[in-house]
Amino acid sequence: MPVIELSYSRLQKLVGKVTKKQISDSLPFLGLDIESENKDLVRIEYSPNRPDYSTDFGIALGLQGLLGIKTGAIKLNVKKSNKYKISVRPEVSKIRPFVTGIVAKNGKIDDKTIKQFMAMQEDLHFGIGRKRKKSSIGIHDLDKISFPLVYTAITRNHKFIPLASEKELSISEILEKTDVGKDYGKILENSTKVPIILDANQDTVSFPPIINAAITTVTTKTKNLFVEVTGINKEDSEDMLSVVATILQKAGFTLETVQITGAKNSTAKFEQKKIKINPTLINQMLGLNISTSKIISSLKKSRLDASIKGKDIVCTIPAYRFDIFGPMDLVEEAALGYGIQNLTPTMAPPQTLGQINPVSSQIKSLSQTMVGLGYLESLNSSLTSKRVLYEMTNRNTSKIISVLDSKSQEHTILRDTILPGLLENLSKNIHESYPQKMFETGTVFTLDDPISEKTNLSSISAHKDANFTEIKSILQSALKTGFGIHIDTKTTTHPSFEEGRCANIIVNKKSIGIIGEINSKIIENYKIRVPVVGFEISLSESILKSI
């Protein structure tokens, strides 16, 4: 989950009439986890479905609601203006077809505000923007731009001075040489031309979704902003713009429209959504019995508007709350406004009888039998490595199941056998006293259609007198006492076992596993200094089959 750093004193100013303690007590009940605190600074984790919480402005709006300082939906006051226009050319339709924007005037921008805007931009790009693929945003100094603008496509030898650069670079150079170019250039790889926003003087404003022009950089001296959002569909682009507009309004800017025309584009309307919900559903889902007016006030505390219409409540949802899909989301909004701390847990008597899965109970019985025979239970990962599974045990590697891009070298392939893991355990315990006797039950994987998962039992005994007779006797007793199964052993060879000291385990004329003295070379590989004997059987093909 994303994390943001806030200042309590800034939040107090933005929320109004509130103590630091009230804020820190309330944050968790907005769904914001406090990660750490250091005097005035607080780091909080917020949910990816609430990009408005990526700035202190958005969090302040939420806190005002929860604390009852200001409730109800936030209305965007967007002044209609004819001064700011973008026309869209059909050339860009097949690359990144949609653009939208807004102008924000007469705001004060300090360093902290710039930091908040950057956090918001990053969150929007990563989350709803799907790493800029779906939609992306550019924030510019309005006074450096001559309107009207044109959103079109341009060749890769087009040049301009990009943000954080001092000299002109071509599009190709930006994509090849800059960090953002390398990170996001992939989005444009299917077209020869790239999207571009040019102003009335043909100067570059932005090269979406990669980088802005240096000239429009926002600083603490900037008073008026121009925000553009581009994307592959209109709804997502306008959703993103609505978050930015809401935050800028809370930050003290006055908003004006940017008119968009051409190639199926149109001006953003920031339309509110209306959803009907029956108060009974809310009471039923939350296990409450509260009045409709209490529900309405709770919804308002969650910064929504709500009113009664017949038996239903009609909820008005501002554009930036696109995380609200339907009535169940309103159940949550009502619960948050009501206060999760006010919901007391209740215990409904179960209408069902509980049962352990028979497979679990069988495995448990078998484990207890192994413990009774003096074996200690071991636990290893089922995602393990080539080294443990094949190299150390001299087994062939033809049918491995591996995962893509593992961050850990020790966890790259799924085990098809348990025994090598137990040998690895012995090798890590050579300084502990002997005898060492261990067993493990667990899942093993083999390629099938697509993958078959079976449960195995493996067991090993290591000490100076360990031998075949001992381990066969253990297996024989475990299966006889546990399950009344009789085993036979039949000579075989296996790369992990000593020749002439290895057998297939036969139950009802079928081999269910292997048993024997571990090959001395392998013991040496693991730097174990005593003889080791062991077995591995498939439980799925013997014991568990009968279920």
């Binding site: 039923q284 509980g354 591996s402 994987f445 993958i451």
Partner: protein
Amino acid sequence: MSQVFHEIEKKIITSLKDNPKQTPETLGTSTKLSPDQIRRGIEWLKLKDLAIVDESITSLISLGKNGLESFQKGLPERRLLDLLTNGPRKLSDLQQELGSVFGPAIGISRKNNWVEATSDQISVKNAPPLLPGEKTLKQIGTNTFSQEQIDKNDLSILLKRPDFIIETISKAKIITLTDSAKSIILSDSTGAIDVEATVPETFVARTHPLKDTIDEIREIFVTLGFSEIIGNMTQSSFWNFDALFTPQDHPARELQDTFYLDGISAKKIATSEQIRKVSESHKKNWRYFWDINEARKMVLRTHTTGVTIKHLAENKPDEARIFSLGRVFRNEKVSYKHLVEFNQIEGVVVGKDANLRNLMGIQREFYKRIGITKIKFWPTFFPYTEPSLQTMVYNEKLGKWIELFGMGIFRPEVTKPLGITKPVLAWGGGIERIAMLKYGLDDVREFYNNNLNWLRSATKCQ
């Protein structure tokens, strides 16, 4: 003083009464106990204030090459005197019979006036019955003695002679009895043993501590009316993600968080109706191109919820309490708080009257049964539940609230396409976290290190 002693202690005390200053080695010889038994016995006696152990520097005496030869054949001068018992002998004959020791034999005997020589003949003059050095030679024999056990004057004779005596300096533990021990009267008549003595450690064979926690949690939910279901660890993306309303372009589905199986896709993932309805829900709500091939990709399950939702989609119960428990996977760097593979429990309640407060009640009851009573609930976010909560439990040791199970009500976008009509309450979380609290661990990796030292010592009932 009537006191009960271990057989080992009795033997050591007896030996020390006969021979008051001994090393562990000499005790071993005299008592026929093993070095380990001697060590333990001395340790016990020391603890009871019955024995004193001093580190001392001792000079040890044993016979050298010539000494040993003399021990076996007699001193050269003794051999000479023996040859003369039947009267005088010729010098040349004696030289032939005594060989290399002829010189010293004649020299010493003449110097001491034991023999006299006339022209070429030698005869006994005045020999004592026991020659100097003979007593010591006999005493030492093939053994080793400390210097003080041997007659100094007699030894000095032998010390002067080449290769007769080997003297080694050794640091030795000297064991002596304390005064109170000297007055002990040992009696064999009762057959009693020292029941207060320490004993060697026996290692218990046992189930794994984490398995114990898993079993405990399983049983709690069974008694709360839940039935266990089991499913595969490898799942199609369809059941792991798509059926749970996680869009295909969602960051959680990327390689860096989820383990995809290299080149493995499932041919049959679900019924055609399930696929159609799930994909429609995605297209309508998330506005993107839903790709069936993406849904076919096999992953190591990131939660057990896929198993549960599949069970619900297949059985569509009106009333149910089920849970699944097992390994789940995350592509993370392994650290003291993260594993790539860990255990999760996850359960659902289905019923027309199921509600959020019930769900909170089940959580509260569960925590109570594992001994956690200080809990609270905070709102949170999961892609497939709405509303969503998390339990915070207070950890006395850490002095802070920590996050445990998450919970919520399955979104209609999840249940509706799969034909599930009744509300579904869902909850779940990692088991290692609970086990860490239980066993007081601060490194989660310990559960999978299989370190015998820990497994053999972790207390079973916490």
